[in-house]
């Protein structure tokens, strides 16, 4: 029993363990995967069944190397399956798909409008539970059928699913589209008072040159779709929840319309308690803007003109917010999280009014404070035209 024997035993142990473990459980080669790049869920005629459209990427067709035959065929395959729930549908689609569906890279989950009206929570649960699915998938509500949305072939991208993801990623450009991750959506659901929201998407155009476009925001009451905000109301909503990251404001001035670009904004929503015990929601917004386009000469070098433009812009913002508030009141859906604000402010009071919140919310008072600052005029500081004195001369001549 010398040292080398011990070493020998150790080696045997290691090999034994390795041999035992070459069961290779869970091993999937890359070419045995079918990567999902979008899931659409629709209502069917049968009450207990959903129609799931799974979009599978075909990687070998994504990289087209100038081959004309390949570029004509699409780089994805939409497989549809009807089943009791999403999980069953995805599993049972292996009846017709030769590779197991892989959800780990899925960027979006689309719900059809009809299905959303009936409630989405029972379909979302799978995405939270599955170990491969991620909490930052986007939730999108389709106007019409979700399956139809996934069938629209985009021009710039190869895969419709990734196309929709990029459309949502661009929400900061206008701030008229929202982005709702699974996480945000579920977090709202869990709060009990805040209504979840999700972007809506629709198909424009006739069958030949169809394109997708984002259109407003779907508002949920609990997990059921109740109404929608249009683009303007959407931005009003985003102002309140401090998610405006960019976008344009067109403002009227005495000399034509001026288009202002939002550089950045910061908003703060707090609940204040009045003497009589009711609450006021105070929304304070600070926005920095920049002149982006001017139609006629309006001198932005003059202080009074600057403050005029700023006031105009803040009025526009206020009107946008009011539009969204009115819509939310009308739907009785607290999309802004006013309830949460009150809860943070006075938990005991909140406990007493919690059950009656649906009735209190439409009556709630709000205070708007919008401070807009014009931060620049771009690369030129005046409307390009002859200098005033020259113009007078020219006029005189």
């Amino acid at each position: 029993m010398n040292r080398s024997f011990t070493i020998f035993l150790k080696l045997i142990a290691v090999f034994m363990i390795i041999i035992c473990l070459t069961g290779c459980w869970n091993r999937r080669e890359l070419d045995s995967l079918s990567v999902l790049v979008g899931i659409g869920i629709d209502k069917t005629d049968e009450p207990q069944k959903v129609n799931v459209t799974a979009q599978i990427a075909i990687p070998s067709k994504i990289k087209t190397s100038g081959n004309k035959d390949e570029s004509s065929s699409s780089a994805y395959w939409n497989i549809q399956y009807k089943a009791e729930n999403v999980f069953t549908a995805l599993r049972e689609s292996t009846f017709s798909a030769s590779r197991k569906l892989y959800i780990g890279q899925n960027p979006i989950v689309l719900f059809g409008e009809d299905l959303a009206r009936d409630g989405v929570q029972k379909h979302i649960d799978f995405f939270l539970r599955d170990h491969e699915a991620r909490l930052n998938e986007y939730i999108v509500i389709a106007k019409g059928k979700a399956g139809a949305i996934l069938n629209v072939k985009p021009e710039l991208e190869k895969l419709p699913g990734l196309n929709i993801e990029k459309l949502i990623d661009l929400h900061y450009a206008t701030s008229k589209v929202i982005s709702a991750r699974l996480m945000d959506f579920v977090s709202s659901l869990a709060s009990g008072t805040t209504s979840p929201v999700a972007p809506m998407i629709q198909v424009d155009g006739a069958s030949e040159n169809q394109k997708l476009s984002m259109s407003g925001t779907a508002v949920f009451k609990n997990d059921k779709l109740t109404g929608e905000l249009d683009m303007v109301q959407t931005r009003g909503y985003l102002w309140v929840v401090d998610k405006v990251k960019g976008g344009l404001i067109n403002t009227k001035t005495p000399n034509g319309v001026i288009c202002l670009e939002i550089l950045h904004s910061k908003s703060k929503m707090t609940a204040k308690k009045k003497e009589d015990g009711s609450f006021v929601i105070k929304i304070a917004i600070n926005a920095d803007i920049n002149a982006g386009n001017q139609e006629e000469a309006y001198n932005l070098l003059l202080p009074e003109n600057i403050s005029y433009v700023e006031n105009q812009a803040s009025d526009t913002i206020k009107s946008e917010i009011k539009a969204s508030l009115n819509k939310a009141w009308e739907l009785k859906a607290d999309i802004f999280g006013f309830g949460e604000a009150i809860k943070r402010k006075d938990y005991k009071k909140w406990e007493s009014i919690k059950d009656d919140w649906d009735n209190i919310f439409p009556e709630i008072e709000t205070e708007l404070e919008v401070a807009v600052k014009l931060r620049g005029t771009g690369e030129i500081n005046k409307f390009v035209q002859p200098e005033p004195e020259k113009r007078e001369k020219n006029n005189g001549a």
Binding site: M1, N2, R3, S4, F5, I7, I18, L21, T22, G23, C24, N26, R27, R28, E29, L30, D31, L33, V35, V37, A57, P59, S60, I62, K63, Y102, G104, Q105, P107, E132, R134, L162
Partner: protein, 538 residues
């Protein structure tokens, strides 16, 4: 059971050797007799039929009546010295030496002090000593009528001159390297460290090869226990042959079954000098340009001499780069296999599509694919190294074409795998001293990654960590400044701090004289500021 059998076998072996050596010992232990022919016969019998042993008999003294003989081995000695400084003075100028027919013991002393114009002469009293002297390049000088002989040192065999280092090339730094000659090597070290505290102790190891070995260390800096330990281990070597320092390394290292070497080596005198100055001991072996240094820490693989010659920022960057490339060289294929076969959710979507497209239609699973590529690469590397240089080039070109182009186009190997293996290969060359262990580790990691994915990789990394931190090299923990942690020595691990900031030697090696600097040196610029300020005030 097996140990018993071994013991018996060992017993027989030893007896057999004793029998063999008994005859020889009879001759060896013989004292030098007064009769010259007796001595020469003993010598002849010892060397047997070897033709390179030259016995030159001549006579000198008054009337040339004193018989004498020189015994040496051709090729090991400097023939001019023998001709001009031994034979010539004796034959021409020795007539006054001896009184007629008297053999006076004092005349031996006279010959030594007045006739032989060579520097190193020793007296020998038995045959064994003279034989040993002859074998190491000395000349044995027997005189009829004296029971002693001279062993005159006039070594003069062919040796290589000091050349550029072959393996450790540098951009900046000394270009000399050790040679096969022990004395040249010790001289190279002496020229670097001109201190009497640099001790060079010699030993002869190897019953047959009788290789000269020199233990070099800095007295007062190297810990006495370390030197004691090294000497003890060297004395325990009972091997018959020491042909290269690698032999010594395997006999004295702490962990012979580890894939990591716990004895360092270098062929550059400046590297060895730096290690001696940090409190290590160097073992110079005659016949090889590779000098061993001990103890060796894992971190030494990542430190090169050049790090200390160039500026600190770039040196630190290189350090980090070396750690990264070591990590890549052991982990890249395993990580690739684990990612593509177990954890696809960790690959970004666009990259995943590219990888799937590349793998489409590949017949092997990713592990096998990686294994094939790695084995092919190792074969190519070995072939390129061993073949004569021009053919080696051809081999690598053919290999690159076969692997890089043909295999991918034929759809046997995926292109990403080629990239991964290529990166692995290139990064394994960054640290040549780690190639051995990196190759083995890569294989182990690949197998575990193939069966258990990331969990397997983590388990094997933990195993690696345990193994590394349980290793010791001559009493110093192998992973020293990292585990056990020595916060002050982190200046020379992931970064290389300026030399004036590295005040201390590594604690685990030089704990009895830890200070590198005599006093705390301030950075040069602040010293100058002080000077200039002083100048202004006066």
């Amino acid at each position: 059971m097996s140990s018993h059998v071994k013991k018996v076998i060992r017993h027989f072996k030893i007896q057999g050797e004793n029998l063999n050596e008994d005859n020889r010992k009879k001759i060896d232990n013989r004292k030098i007799s007064k009769g010259l022919q007796n001595n020469l016969n003993s010598i002849r019998r010892t060397f047997g039929p070897s033709k390179d042993v030259i016995i030159r008999e001549f006579s000198f003294g008054p009337k040339h009546q004193t018989k004498a003989a020189l015994v040496f081995i051709e090729g090991l000695i400097n023939i001019t010295v023998i001709n001009d400084n031994i034979i010539k003075p004796l034959m021409y100028d020795s007539s006054f030496l001896f009184n007629k027919n008297t053999v006076d013991p004092s005349s031996m002393e006279i010959i030594k002090s007045t006739m032989l114009s060579v520097s190193d002469i020793q007296e020998a009293y038995d045959i064994k000593e003279t034989v040993a002297g002859c074998l190491s390049g000395d000349v044995a000088f027997f005189i009829n009528g004296f029971s002693q002989a001279f062993v005159i040192s006039c070594k003069g065999f062919e040796k290589r001159s000091v050349e550029d280092p072959q393996n450790e090339s540098v951009i900046r730094g000394p270009r000399e390297s050790f040679t096969e000659n022990l004395r040249t090597n010790t001289a190279l070290l002496r020229r670097k460290i001109k201190s009497p505290a640099l001790i060079m102790e010699t030993m002869i190891i190897g019953r047959k090869t009788r290789t000269n070995i020199c233990i070099t260390y800095l007295m007062g800096v190297a810990s006495p226990e370390l030197i004691e330990l090294i000497k003890r281990r060297l004395k325990n070597i009972s091997a018959d042959a020491i042909l290269e320092s690698g032999y010594i390394e395997q006999y004295i290292e702490d962990a012979p079954f580890s894939i990591f070497s716990t004895v360092g080596y270098s062929e550059k005198p400046d590297v060895v000098a730096a290690k001696i100055l940090e409190g290590r001991a160097a073992i110079i072996v005659d016949g090889t340009p590779f000098v061993l240094t001990a103890p060796m820490l894992f971190i030494e693989n990542f430190q090169t001499s050049e790090d200390y010659y160039i500026r600190t920022y770039f040196a630190s960057l290189l350090r980090v780069l070396r750690f990264m490339s070591y990590a890549i060289s052991i982990l890249a294929p395993a990580a690739y296999v684990a990612l593509t076969t177990f954890h696809q959710e960790l690959i970004p979507t666009a990259l995943l599509f590219t990888m799937i497209a590349a793998r489409e239609g590949i017949p092997f699973p990713a592990v096998i694919e990686a294994g094939i590529m790695m084995v092919t690469f190792e074969i190519l590397r070995e072939a390129g190294l061993r073949l004569p240089r021009p053919v080696g080039q051809a081999v690598s070109i053919v290999g690159a074409l076969v692997i890089g182009e043909a295999a991918v186009t034929a759809g046997i190997i995926g292109a990403p795998m080629v990239i991964v293996v290529a990166i692995t290969a290139v990064s394994s060359f960054v640290i040549p001293s780690n190639i051995e262990n990196a190759t083995i580790l890569r294989m182990i990691f690949l197998i575990l990654a193939g069966s258990m994915g990331g969990f397997g990789i983590m388990i094997s990394l933990l195993g690696l960590l345990i193994h590394l931190s349980s290793l010791k090299s001559f009493g110093s923990p192998y992973l020293s400044p990292i585990a056990p942690i020595r916060p002050k020595e982190m200046k020379d691990v992931f970064i290389r701090a300026p030399l004036w900031a590295m005040l201390k030697r590594p604690f685990d090696i030089a704990h009895n004289d830890i200070n590198r600097h005599k006093s705390i040196t301030i950075p040069p610029d602040s010293q100058e500021n002080k000077l200039s300020k002083g100048g202004e005030s006066t």
